[in-house]
Structure formats: C-alpha cells, structure tokens
Amino acid sequence: MRIHDLRAVTILPLMALVLAACGTGTTGANKLAGGTATFAELPAATPSYILPMTSCKYFSVTNLSQFIELMYRPLYWFGQNGQVKLNSDLSLASDPVYSDGGKTVTMKLKNWKWSDGAPITSRDVQFWMNLYKANLGGYCGYTPKYFPDNVTSMSYPDPQTVVFSLDKAYGSYWFTYNELSQITPMPQHAWDKTSDSSPVGDYDMDPKTAVDVYKYLDGQSKTLGTFATNPLWQVVSGPWKLKSFSTEGAVAMIPNPGYSGPVKPTIAEFDLQPYTTGTAEFNVLHSGGIDLGYIPTESVSQKDSLTKYTFQPWIGWQFVYFQENFNNAINGAIYKQLYFRQAMQHLVDQTTWISQIFKGYAVPTYGPVPIQPASQFVSPGERNNPYPYDPAAAIKLLTDNGWTVKPGGVSTCSNPGTGTGQCGAGIASGQKASFKLEYASGTIAVTQEMEALKTAFSKAGLELNLSENPFNTVIGDAFGGTTTADMDNWGGGWIYAPDYMPTGESLFSTGAGSNGGAYSDSKMDDLITATTTSNDVQALYAYEDYNAQQLPVIFIPSADAALTMAKKTLHGWDPQDPLLQIYPENWYFTSS
C-alpha cells in the first residue's frame, strides 16, 4: 500500500477554498473587506530573525511559523486543513517526481514571482542550497549524514527545473517530508551580495564567498530596527510584507500585491502583538483588544465569561517524553531491561495527569508519533496505550523478574542473573531500585507531574529522588554523555518540523545527535532506516509499534500548544494548523 498519493492532495485545498469562500460559520453576517487583524504572540516570544536560513538560536515557532513563513514560502508547504500534509497549492514547486528507483528527484517550479516582479526560479533554489552547503552550522535543520550530505549532485537544467541525485534510494515520501521540506528559495537576484555596497553577483557559486554572503545576510538579520526598511527584506515570495517592526516584537504586515499564491489577503493589515505574560495578554483579551489570542491554562475556567470569543484548543505536532541514561554507571543496567522500562511506564497515570494537571487540555503520548491531531501516520497499534496506568502490573513485572518489591520502600534485586525470572545482565544481588530524576524548574505542570510520578513509583517500591534544577543544568546533563546523569526531564519534547514525517533517525537511532540517553537497539536502527527508504506505510507503523513497545524513553502527556480565543467576528482561522503556522491571508471579518 502506498502511504499517500501526493497528487490527490491538490484537490483538498481547492475544496477548502470553496468552503472558505462560502463563509463557513458566518451565519448570514456581512463579510467585510479590509480591517486590521491582531494576533497575540506567546508570552516573551517575539520575532527576532528574518532570514529564512535560520540557525538553532532563532529556530522557533515564533520566528518561523508565525513570522518568516508569512513572507518567505518554503519550496514545499506542509499543513492543510488542520492536518500534517503536503499542501501542493501553497508550494512554490509542483510535487517532486522520483526516478531511477528513488535515487533522482526532479522538482518543477511554478511560475510564481517575487514581490518585485522577478520570477522565482531554480537559481533561487540553487542559491539556498549553495549557502546551506557552505554554512552547515548555520541552519538548524541540518543533521549530519542526512540532507544535504545525502545529495551527491545537483543540477538546474532550466529556470524551472531542479534535479537532485541522491547517494541511495530513499522513500519518496520521507525525502519530500523530511529533506526537501527544508528548502526555502531565496531571491538570488537581490540577496547574492557580500556587503551593502557590493553589487549582486554569483558569490554563492564559490563556497568561500558563499560564507561571506551568509555572514552578510545573517548580519543584516541582526539589525532588527531596519527589518521594515532594509531593501533586502522588501523582496518577498509570501502573501505578506513588513509595514513596521519594533524591536519589542510589535509587527505590522500588509498584503504583498504581487503574491502569486491561490489565496490573496483580504484584510488590510495583520498585526502581531507582544505580551510579557499570559496574564498581561488575558487582561487585554478581557477588554476585547485582540482578534486571535489565547487564554492561559490557569484562567481557562473563565473562558465562558469572554462572550465575544470562540474557544478552541490548538494541538501541535509534537510528543513529550523524558529520558533515562542507558549509560548510567549504576542504573544503566536496569534501564536496559525492557521489563523494567515497561514497569515504569505502567506507573505513569496519563489520564489523571491530563485531567488534574492540564485541566483536560493535553494529549496522551503512547509512542513517538503524536496520536492527535489525527493523522495518517498513527498506526492502529499506537492509538491505544500499551502500558496503561497499572501499579499491580508494574509490581508483577518486577516480581516475575527477580525483584523483591517493597511498596512504599525500596525494592531490591533478589534473583540476579540473565535467565528467565532473573533481574538481567549487570544487575547485582541487592541492587536497589533507586533513581535520581532531575527536572527543569519554572513550569508548574512539570513539577506536578514529577511529584505525581514519585508517588506512583513508590507504589512499586521504586525510589525516585527528585531534584529541581535550572533548564541549563538539566539539558546539559541530559546531553552530556556522562555515566553520572540518571533520568532527565527538561520539560519539553520533540516537534516534528521541518522533518514532518515522524521517523526517528534524529532521536532514537544509535548515536543520533538528539539521542541524549544513548539508547541503542539494532532492530530499532533497522526499522528507522526502513522508514527512510520505504514508501510503504507499514514500515512506519512497524517502527512506531516497536518503539512504543520498547520504550526508549518514558512517554508523558503533551500539553496543547495554546488555548485559542478567537473573536466571533473573525473568520477563516479555523481549522488551526498543527504545525502552528498561521494563514491570515484566509482571514476576514464579518459585521457580527
């Protein structure tokens, strides 16, 4: 079975356009032309970078999904009708065509134009690729051995065509969703220069001068006060261009009249407004000063009092976990035992955590693929929790494997060895089930979760010594590669972007850069490789089912990205994009 026919998705955006044009939800109210729509930025999250080739320092939803991408469209756009899908309509190129058994990919650019009237061509893609290859540390999407290392040659036979030759045959779906997804054409005719005074040239063609071009553009992107006036940033491909930009994060955008995409903006201006805290934003929301904002979780019980607004949770394409250090000198041997990991996962009461800690606004996590928003990527097996909260089951797993369980105390290994019913390799007689878990301070929900976990662990005699440390400490230990770090929860998870297909090559393959716990399993490695080379959805399902069963990390609930409050007179914002992108070109107001 093919995962998905890429061509079929072109029909869906057309349907969406028809629905939007019909004014869904307006209940007969007059559609108004123009107007200014305001969007509340998340607390202390203001745009600070404009160059689409974004380093990890600025690689955030705020900078990318809700600012840069409004002006600079990626070669392939993902996100459609609230689902994680290739959106052919909004992409700058037609769907990629794979040949040579999956070793060659050809992309045809559409005849779209930059805002200054110049055509968007393969030279603009080449410009991106040349800067990327010359500055690998400059773009956060880079993973060693993957894109662009896996592209052996590139050719640009005509202004509309880009051809990549790959080092081996990859699955077309994976390569499109996780590799080609990184490319954002940049206006070579305006940006290929090394200083303000230098003329535009072909500096990107030489890797040495390509470094200078990147440094120049990165430097220009560091002078926030000039974003709205710098001629570089006036040339855009997206539906919006900057009208004003304050260094505090207040942004005003106006429509790009030369936008070639299918949906042109109808509102006259789109404003991003910065907020210091959720409380400050909520105060303004109360007075009706925001068109699309959010309600802080702690205030969600008051949502019905805001009668001018519609409430809708915004669920992101992410999953949350914390990790054990498989190389820990004392407990590493315990973590390597599947039965023990299963026992620990049985002690995570996700249902209660979601209702009590997150007030219902979170999604359970059963494996590496988010089960919400609904997607074609979730296997039937991962839709159900393989290890529901069950202290009795946890105790049975431990006693069946040579542990003397002391609920409320500290369980010990009483039957060491590697045979059936024994504790497992490297676990000595009398070894205590005692663990250290450090978690990042500053988030009440994380503290509450860890306290609840400590209580649950004690039911099976697992002693959990919690320590609350600054984020720096926790993440430093988590990725420090030491044998002293034990369990670490830095209070975040993994967002699948710009690698939209939820394969685990960066996270769970042996030696992967983001595999902080040093998990290693040859079968997992093979299954991950299969997800990158196969077009069969069963390859992805096999990986995620195995992952959910093997528990390379402890899965915990994922809080909703935001609790959206939208003015009832604002339309076109729904459904919300799980990649947290916004589409103000679809928005319009009605009189009531």
């Binding site: 202390a44 260094t247 000063g289 500053g442 600054p470 230990d477 420090g480």
Partner: protein, 318 residues
Amino acid sequence: MTGFLVRRVAQSTLVVLGVTVITFVLTKLLPGGVARAILGVRASPQAIAEFNHENGLDLPAWQQYLYYLGQLLHGNLGFSYHLNQSVVELLQDHLPKTLILLTISTLLALAIAVPLGMLQAVRRNKLEDYFFTSLSFALYSMPPFWLALILIIIFAVNLNLLPPQGPQGAVSTYLDDPSQILGLVLPVMSLALVTIALFSRYMRSSMLDNLVQDYVRTARAKGVSTTGVLYRHVLRNALIPIVTLLGLSLPGIFSGALITEAIFNYPGMGLLFWNSSQSRDYPVLLGVTLVVAVATVVGNLLADVFYAVVDPRVRVTE
C-alpha cells in the same frame, strides 16, 4: 568637600567592579551547557561548537572575564542570544521607558507623600492621621502585582476608562497619540501608590522627630509663624532621611517596575529582565544587572553628596 567626593567616587567604582565580578561569576557557576540550553535538543555538534566559539565560551573563565571587562570599557555589553540585538541597543530601547515610568511615579509619590506625611505629623493622633495611616498600611501591605490587577479590573475591564496595558510605541511617539499617555496611567498609579505609602510613613516619622527639637522651640520663641516653622525649618531637616531613602529605594522601585511592566505589558527594562531570565539570555541579564547596580551606586553617591550639602556635619564627620 573635594576629598569627600573623591573618596566616595573611588569607593563607588570599586563597588561597580565588584558587581561585575559577582554577576559574571554567578553566571559561570551555573552548571550545564549554555549552548545546548540556547540551541535546543535539535542542534548539531557543528552548531554547538560554533556557538561556543562565537561567544567565547571555549576560553578559560578568567579570559572570558577579562574579555567581558575589556568590552565593557568599550561600551559593549554583549549580544543577546535570543533577541538578536546588542545589549546596548536593547537598553537604549527599554531603559527610557522604565525611566519615564519610574520618574513619573516617584515624583508623583513624593508630591503626595511629603505633604501627606507633614499633615499626619501636624495632625498627629487625629482622625486624618488615623485614616491616612490605615490607608498607607493597606497600600504598603499589598503585593504590587495584586494591586496592579485590581486597578486593571476596576479601571480597564469594569469601567472601561483606561487601557489595560502600557503604551506600546517608542517613547518618542508618546506625545503623538493620547492613548499612549492614557496607557501610562495605571502602571504609574500602581507603582506610585505603594511608594506613597512608604514615603509618607517616613515623612511623618521624620517630621515628628523634628517637631520636638530645640531649634523648633527656639524658632517659635523668636516669633516665627507655624507655617514658617514648618516650611522653613522642619521640612528641610525632615527631608534628609527621605533623600537617603530615595537613593536606597532605587533597586526596590526597579523590582516593582519589573512586576508592573510584566503585568501591564509595558516593554521597559523590567520586562526585558523578566523575559531574559525566562529565556536564559545571560548577556542581557548581566547587562541589566550591571546598569541597575550602577544606578544604585550612583543613586547612593548622589544621596551622600546631597546629604553632605544639606547637612555640613556629615562632611565634618568624614
């Protein structure tokens, strides 16, 4: 007087230098990797190495400090990890806003607290004194954030008279748009009300101390009117502790501004500090801490100088 000034300036310089050492060491004592914390779980080894090199984090700590100090002497306070701007630029943007907020609220507080304290001292143990004492205690015991929220609920949400947030534009645009001035009213009120309570209590106490002094009795015996005694003799002497208090209060007022700015969404330096602490933006934290430390030292220096001007005994003692 010159010797007194030289000694005070030298002491202040040493204090500021000490502050740079302490703030720098504190950030270095934080365990864990700054690079990983800033760049996130997705960062490649190349990105981590580049970040450490760009920010001098691959140098020994003492070299980092000397580099930091050298940059300070050249007016470079560093570059924000998150906000993508130099710390100096950030301070240029945010500091005037905080100064406006602090100046207006402090002047307003003084303008009300001084006569209020005088009134309470003159009308000691009368109805007015009891009323304003109770009001002062009530205001002073209120947490600033709570007072700010109460003001928002009353004036912005219920009465819809004032905006719930501070002005969002640049300082230079405040006078162009009356709504921006209106936006300052609630933040100024919330800061001033607490400060009025504090200053008026000190003023009352200081006035009471002075009203029983011999020089007051002498002035009265010489036939000076009550108004003359109060304004020409007692007020000047009673203000001395207020001057000292004003210098010492700067950090306290700044921390009050931090909370006020956060609640009123006012993009001043308090808010900058708040956001930077949330995002672990150490260069900004260091820069703001240094500026506040310098402001505090300078405030105290000015208070000392002013104290010496109004009270010659200070110079004699020195």
